[in-house]
Symmetry: C2
Subunit: 108 residues, 2 copies
């Protein structure tokens, strides 16, 4: 897979409307992105702990997502090891935290 590093607002799969919401929607709409942010919500985790929390998702994708998420400025690798949310990432997390309540209500 191409490493596809890039600028923060990498174009969301062709959507270069300039609307950052599209880039965000595209980034979050990738497998495990949301889950990673979710699992990191209350404190940093080591890459392996994170993997554990994510149903043993393959390290390949996890690493890829983690890189993207870091480039986006939502996640960072702490100096003592372990991935954690940046202030911005924490902010984003708050943003869709209400999903939790929604999900509980939905479940049916």
């Amino acid at each position: 897979m191409a490493k596809q590093a890039g600028s923060r607002t990498r174009n969301a799969r062709g959507s270069r409307t300039g609307r950052p919401i599209m880039a965000l929607l595209d980034l979050l709409g990738r497998r495990w992105s949301l889950r990673i942010l979710w699992e990191l919500r209350d404190g940093p985790l080591t890459s392996r702990a994170l993997r554990g929390a994510c149903d043993e998702a393959s390290p390949t994708v996890l690493q890829a997502r983690l890189t993207e998420l870091r480039e986006a400025g939502f996640v960072e690798l702490g100096d003592g090891g372990g991935y954690g949310l940046t202030p911005l990432g924490r902010d984003l997390c708050e943003t869709f935290m209400p999903l939790h309540r929604f999900a509980e209500r939905w479940k049916v």
Copy 2:
């Protein structure tokens, strides 16, 4: 692709913790799911209009997502044609609408 229809709270890729948030995170963390909900936010669209709004995403995935989203009860196919959000779907949409503001702030 397997049609993988199913109960609403289909298990999120192995995560059968019973936490519906996982199912939701998994469903939304699929390509185009978030985008579809987003594009439907202010009114129903025909399948083709939706495709247009989603950068001409292939009808294959769109149809797949639409089916999943319908099974989840977020989207419905109106009698006169055209896809629209259900009340529940509209609710969900509201839930992550703040993302818009966040994205604007983020963009950098």
